[in-house]
Each structure stands twice: as structure tokens, then as C-alpha cells.
């Protein structure tokens, strides 16, 4: 399926994180499911530190 073909149909969008993106898509008439997510704080090494400190 090409991108154009996909956009012919009603869109259902999953928005991860920034609320502004979800609002802009809703303003175009599309339905948006929100996933409340923010990247971990800190720096690039934090994800591996967190993984090693998991329960």
C-alpha cells in the first residue's frame, strides 16, 4: 500500500509524547489515541543504567 492510498482512508493516529502533535492532528479531523510518554531524563547512558537497576 502506498502512502497516498493509506491517506485516502479515515485516519486513526497513535501519538506518543508531545501533546501539541496530537492537538494538531485532531484539528485536521483525525482520531488520536494518546500514549503519555517522555524520554528518560539524564543522558545517553541513563537507559542502560536504568536497565541494570531494574527490579
Amino acid at each position: 500500500m502506498t502512502l497516498d492510498a493509506g491517506l485516502d482512508q479515515p485516519l486513526r493516529v497513535v501519538n506518543v509524547g508531545l501533546e501539541l502533535f496530537a492537538e494538531q492532528i485532531e484539528a485536521q479531523g483525525a482520531a488520536v489515541d494518546r500514549v503519555d510518554w517522555r524520554p528518560p531524563a539524564g543522558g545517553p547512558d541513563i537507559a542502560s543504567l536504568l536497565a541494570r537497576l531494574e527490579d
Binding site: 517522555r38 528518560p40 531524563a41 539524564g42 543504567l49 536504568l50 541494570r52 537497576l53 531494574e54
Partner: protein
């Protein structure tokens, strides 16, 4: 690798099973072993040169109260000379609201948790409204107020406890919570319940009506936040039960000195992790504005450390107005967010709007860093250069101390390198 999950379950269990009770009134000298020219202050460690205006004012008040100086100028010179030793209240098992300055002669509440075998202390009151030491006041009204609390209020409260025995704060706070207090910026119900508990015993303890009347006025009507000292002691007694708990990533201290915000973590012992204190987003009294505000101040974030205050905002419609929460939904979302960064819930404080689920309890530094959600603190706002409260609001804790603590935890427990 240490068993973090087990340590954090133990931390939650200790916080939830704490049953603090008010057992005594003692001086800073008796309760905390304060000697010589030593003053305790709110927040992480700070020296005179970096202290904010309200804390400097409170230091001057304490030096005058102790008789170390005869004038405010003398008190300032003494503090600047290095002849006063400063330490955080938290380093001695105490807590102080706003500037939070405690001296050897300050009368303190003593709260004990018999379950976890911990104690905590804070000052009872600190001068009449508009002249409180906690906001930096150090004039004659403040000094007269401090002496009256030492010479009249403290002995009367001590006599009440001798007659009545310990007063169960856990039960009182649980009841006040269901009456709409989150017990940081709203203590109206708890203050009323405490006044009801104290009224008859105070009448018996202070037969002279002329002496009794101002004490009853202090307890019953001057300040809806009168109970804050008790709620902070109760929360501190609970939080002390997890200090030094090996392998736990739960925060055991959050506090601000008006310049810096700091945390300590159960499994990391004494070290503080700090960052510049936040600007409080607030509602100001008429005539005051954001430009007048000091940065976030005080040890009262012990309430959030214990799972109350901002963490319990959904349970307190009244506080939402006091601190300027945008909406009911916003307060509910805040408590839900706080649930994301805590290890569990405390059933002692059930939140009706969440189906009776307990308040989020035990802030986990891993969850804070992973979700980028930081604790929200309901708080009073001090003027940055005048001795008074100018409003109330919500402070957002800075992220940097949580990241720094996580790195230190990984280093300490051997997880820093793969």
C-alpha cells in the same frame, strides 16, 4: 546486584506501618543535643554567605532569642564571622518549615513512631502572624512571641501530654485526610481536630484564664496551618524509618533552603543531591506578585516524601484553590502522575475519587528518571526580602538531583558499568 525490589517493598511497608504519636515538648538542647552556638536550618547544607533573605532573618531572630547578640546588626556580624555552626534540621532528625531555623533553646514537639522506633522534632510556633521567624521576621513582636511560646505555651502543652499521655497523630491525620486536608498547604481539618483534642486538657492545665486565653487563641483560631508542625514531625518520623535502608532507591528526604532543592535516598545514606531551587507557580495575596517571591523554601516537602501534599492533591479540593491548581482534572492528573513515580500506596490515606486507593507513597528515583516525572510540592511562598508569606502554589522539583542520585546509586551498588 542488590535486591532493590525487596528493599523498596520494605521501604513502603515501613512508611505505611508508621504510627507517629506526639509524646513530649522539649528544647532543642534536650531533644536534639544542640549545644553552643549551633543553629539548624531548612533544606540541604548552606553557609551564611549563600543564605536567602528569609533564612538570614530567621538566623538573626534565633541569635537574638538565644541572647548571642543584642541587636540585629550584632547578630548578622556574629553569623558572618563564622561563630555560629549551621547544620540542616534533617541532619538531626528535625524539620523546619520555610527558613526552619531551630536553636538550642527553641521549644520543640517530639513525635515518636513506636512501630519503627523513630523520633522527629520541629518548632511549635514562631511568632504571631505577620511576624513569624520562618519568614525571616526578627523584630520585637517575633522575639516576644518566641519567648511567650517558650515560657507559656510549651509548659502548657507539656502539662497536657503529662495528663493525657501521647496523642495519636496517625489516627488524627487519617481522619483529617478524609476531611479534605492534604496536610501540606491545607491543615484546616487537622488543626480543628487537634484543637478539639487539646481544649479541655488545656483548661485543666492552665487554670488562670488570662494566661489560657492567648494559648487557646493560638491553638484554635489564629492559623489554619497550625497543625503543619505536627504533620511534618509525623512525616519525618515515618521517613526516618527508611534512612540508610540498604539497596532502596526510595527518596527519604526532600527539602529546600530557599537557594537549593535537595534529596537524600534511603540506600545512599547521608549524601545530598542538589540543584537550584524552583520558582513556585502560585497564587499571590493582594499587593504581592511573582517578582516578590523567594525561591522554593523549607523542610515541609517532607509531606510529599511521605506521600501527602502535592502527591495527594486529588484528595483535597480545598487545597486546589489555595495553590492555584488549574482544574479538578489537573489535580487528579497530578496525583495519577505521582503514582507513576512511587513504589506503592498508603492505605492509611485513601483517596475517594480514585476508588479508595491509598495516596502514592515512596518516591523511587528510578521511576522519576525513567518517566521524566518529578514530584509536585504544594507550598507557601515567602517574600524574598520582607518577613511575610505572600501566597501559595505548586513547586516542581528539579530533575537534576534525581539523575545525580541514580548515577551515585549505580556506582555504589556496582551497576555503573556493564
Amino acid at each position: 546486584m542488590a535486591d532493590i525490589a525487596a528493599a523498596n517493598r520494605e521501604a513502603l511497608d515501613r512508611l505505611c506501618r508508621a504510627r507517629p504519636a506526639w509524646t513530649a515538648v522539649r528544647s532543642g538542647r534536650e531533644a536534639l543535643g544542640l549545644e553552643g552556638r549551633t543553629l539548624l536550618h531548612a533544606g540541604p547544607p548552606i553557609e551564611w554567605a549563600r543564605m536567602c533573605w528569609p533564612m538570614r532573618g530567621a538566623v538573626k531572630a534565633a541569635a537574638l532569642f538565644e541572647g548571642w547578640a543584642r541587636t540585629a546588626d550584632e547578630a548578622e556580624a556574629l553569623a558572618a564571622s563564622g561563630d555560629i555552626a549551621f547544620a540542616p534540621c534533617h541532619s538531626r532528625g528535625a524539620v523546619g518549615p520555610m527558613a526552619g531555623v531551630i536553636s538550642p533553646g527553641t521549644p520543640l514537639l517530639v513525635v515518636e513512631d513506636a512501630v519503627n522506633r523513630t523520633t522527629a522534632s520541629s518548632f511549635i510556633a514562631d511568632g504571631p502572624w505577620g511576624h513569624q521567624l520562618r519568614f525571616g521576621a526578627h523584630g520585637p513582636e517575633t522575639l516576644n512571641g518566641l519567648r511567650w511560646i517558650r515560657d507559656a505555651v510549651a509548659p502548657a502543652l507539656s502539662a497536657v501530654l503529662e495528663r493525657e499521655g501521647p496523642i495519636d497523630l496517625a489516627a488524627l491525620m487519617a481522619q483529617a485526610f478524609t476531611m479534605g486536608d492534604e496536610m501540606h498547604m491545607r491543615n484546616a481539618a487537622a488543626t480543628g481536630l487537634l484543637a478539639r483534642r487539646l481544649a479541655a486538657p488545656l483548661v485543666a492545665a492552665v487554670p488562670d484564664a488570662a494566661r489560657l486565653e492567648p494559648i487557646m487563641r493560638l491553638v484554635t483560631r489564629d492559623n489554619d496551618q497550625f497543625f503543619l508542625a505536627w504533620s511534618m514531625c509525623a512525616a519525618k518520623a515515618a521517613a526516618r524509618s527508611i534512612e540508610g535502608l540498604e539497596a532502596s532507591t526510595v527518596v527519604c528526604t526532600m527539602a529546600r533552603n530557599g537557594v537549593e532543592f535537595g534529596i537524600r535516598v534511603a540506600g545512599l545514606g547521608e549524601p545530598w543531591f542538589t540543584a537550584p531551587a524552583s520558582v513556585v507557580e502560585g497564587v499571590y495575596f493582594p499587593g504581592s506578585a511573582a517578582g516578590d517571591a523567594n525561591l522554593d523554601t523549607g523542610d515541609s516537602a517532607i509531606m510529599e516524601t511521605y506521600g501527602l501534599g502535592g502527591l495527594a492533591m486529588a484528595s483535597s479540593p480545598a487545597v486546589q484553590k489555595i495553590v492555584g491548581a488549574k482544574s479538578w482534572e489537573d489535580a487528579l492528573a497530578t496525583t495519577r502522575d505521582m503514582g507513576e513515580i512511587c513504589v506503592g500506596r498508603n492505605p492509611l490515606f485513601p483517596i475517594a475519587v480514585l476508588g479508595g486507593e491509598g495516596t502514592p507513597t515512596g518516591i523511587d528515583i528510578r521511576r522519576v528518571v525513567k518517566t521524566s516525572i518529578v514530584p509536585k510540592i504544594t507550598t507557601a511562598i515567602a517574600h524574598r526580602a520582607a518577613p511575610r508569606m505572600i501566597g501559595a502554589g505548586i513547586a516542581t522539583a528539579p530533575m537534576a538531583p534525581f539523575v545525580a542520585a541514580l548515577r551515585a546509586f549505580a556506582e555504589r551498588y556496582g551497576a555503573a558499568r556493564a
